[in-house]
Assembly symmetry: C2
Homo-oligomer: 110 residues x 2
């Protein structure tokens, strides 16, 4: 199974980006599947109700969400399948690795 690291490459929908977050919009139609991709720690906000199956090489997770929900998505790799009969529409707020202030830099070589 080939892994494409970044969901922006496999399933485009780039919304906004700055030093702290990247925000993606995701849409698909009933029955569509994604290629495998990796999410950093993220908050997903659902803009439609949808049913999905998330899969890795050895695990499957089925979920059904209403519109207007917010869920924590810990960093993970998976592929997704729209298992319902309606489109998926969601916003992903991806958290970037915390920037370190100069005062907090390690002293000396690591």
């Amino acid at each position: 199974m080939e892994m494409a690291d970044d969901p922006v490459k496999t399933n485009p929908g780039h919304y906004l980006e700055n030093d702290r977050v990247r925000v993606l919009e995701y849409r698909d139609e009933a029955g569509e599947t994604t290629t495998p991709h990796r999410h950093p720690d993220s908050v997903m906000v659902t803009l439609s109700a949808f049913s999905r199956r998330l899969s890795t090489e050895d695990r499957v997770f089925d979920t059904a969400l209403a519109a207007g929900e917010a869920r924590w998505l810990p960093a993970q790799s998976h592929s997704g399948e729209n298992t319902g009969d309606t489109p998926t529409h969601a916003i992903f707020v991806e958290l970037k690795s915390p920037p370190l202030s100069p005062e907090a830099s390690p002293l000396g070589p690591a």
Copy 2:
């Protein structure tokens, strides 16, 4: 003008919280106003279309957004007024201050 620091205290709607984010749901009706409150760096996702006036002691900002938009809200204090004729419904993904790894802690007293 008295400042209540935390919008959870003034306008409850706590959704989820962990080490990296706190997620709030906000709803109001046409014509309602909030007390002054402070937002940390946040991403706002609109679940309804709405028109709002944001005010500080010396500035006013009017905005109109569609449902399903995601906007960056840099840390700020303000009060808000629903200036449209429909309810506001939005999700705020508040970013917490970056946690520092033990390796990145300052050496010696600050």
